[in-house]
């Protein structure tokens, strides 16, 4: 059951991070298209926000790795 939970958990974490980072990318591309001269600042903010989301998703992924390896049982 631990393996199943790990698989499902990793999948959900990936879905969440994918949706989040996708929305950031959408927002960044739209604003760069609207204001190309601010692309540098927007890129910086985009990477920062994507990193924050990624951090949460990776914490989920680490929990899943721990589950799959059976650590803590």
């Amino acid at each position: 059951m631990g393996l199943l939970a790990a698989g499902i958990g990793a999948g959900i974490a990936a879905v969440g991070a994918g949706v989040g980072i996708g929305m950031i990318g959408k927002g960044a591309v739209e604003s760069i298209a609207r204001q190309p001269e601010a692309s540098g600042d927007i890129r910086g903010a985009m990477i920062l926000t994507a990193a924050l989301i990624e951090g949460v998703a990776l914490i989920g992924a680490i929990v899943c790795i721990l589950l799959a390896l059976g650590i803590g049982q």
């Binding site: 910086g44 990477i47 920062l48 990193a51 924050l52 990624e54 951090g55 949460v56 990776l58 914490i59 992924a61 680490i62 390896l69």
Partner: protein, 344 residues
Amino acid sequence: MLRACRRLFVTFLLVLFFTPFTQASEKSAQDSEGAPIDVVGKVADHHELAVLGYHIPLPRIMLVDGEWYFYGSTEGAVESGEFVEEDGALVPASGAHITLDMSVTSHLMYVWFGLILTLWITIAMARKYKRGTGRKTEPKGWFQNMFEIVFVFIRDDVAKTNIPDGKYRKFVPYLFTVFIGITFMNLFGLLPWGATATADITVTAVLAAFTFIITQWNGSKDHWEHVFWFPGVPGWMRIILTPIEIIGLFTKPFALAVRLFANMLSGKIMIICILGLIFIFAEIFGNIAGIGMSLFAVPLTVGLYVLKAFVGILQAYIFTLLSAVFIGMAAEEHSHEEGVEAHA
């Protein structure tokens, strides 16, 4: 000088290219058929340094019941009779517990390699600038130019934009050291037999602890006011907000550590898994399927390798950027007339 260096580099590359084959043939002759690939063992910490297929033992330093034990290698510790090996870990023969294990491990060695390289580069460049090259004249050579680009990038785009004016200068050395050091540690994992030191939670936790200490040490009065006595909210809200803010102090460096660790670890595991697909296919569907899978898996691994090199630099940048953001948030002093939105 440069020619000699280049020749040495090419020779080194050739040696690297040929030794895997000799190693592989020796290994397959030794190992029994059908042994499973040890994915976790590949990314775990070891008490030996693998160079060109040879295993150099690293010293074991252990504190057991107030007494220090020093050995040149794990074998030496076992031979002395004081310790026995159980499940790959050393256990005192007397049945006591190891209080403190200060053994040098492969990941620690790679941290040191990264730091030595960082020190060497920065001291060499600082000497050059002291002599006047780059200050009075233009920078000389590709190396100094590259160094200057990276340094100016960290100073202007990372430190200056995120840390308030007049304070950022103090933090540039730390941010630059962290960036260069993590980049080297990440990229060492791409070398054959190299280990990614940052794919170890202890290494990244120490790095994040540095950021945490620097952040809190330089926290302004406003920073602590926000933590313990949030301004501009009704009094009873502070019962909820203060614990959240205190937890928030610790989750920031925790996320910093886990992000770097998980990124580097996942890259390694992914490469091993995709290469492992070849053997899984060969096992289940026969050798032809294994060969067919290798046509797919090997180019994919090459692509992943390039991605890993990119991710290594990107994660070093993100670690540095977030460190700068956290330090900047704590060091900021602002007037409270800005309204509640400014505190969000």
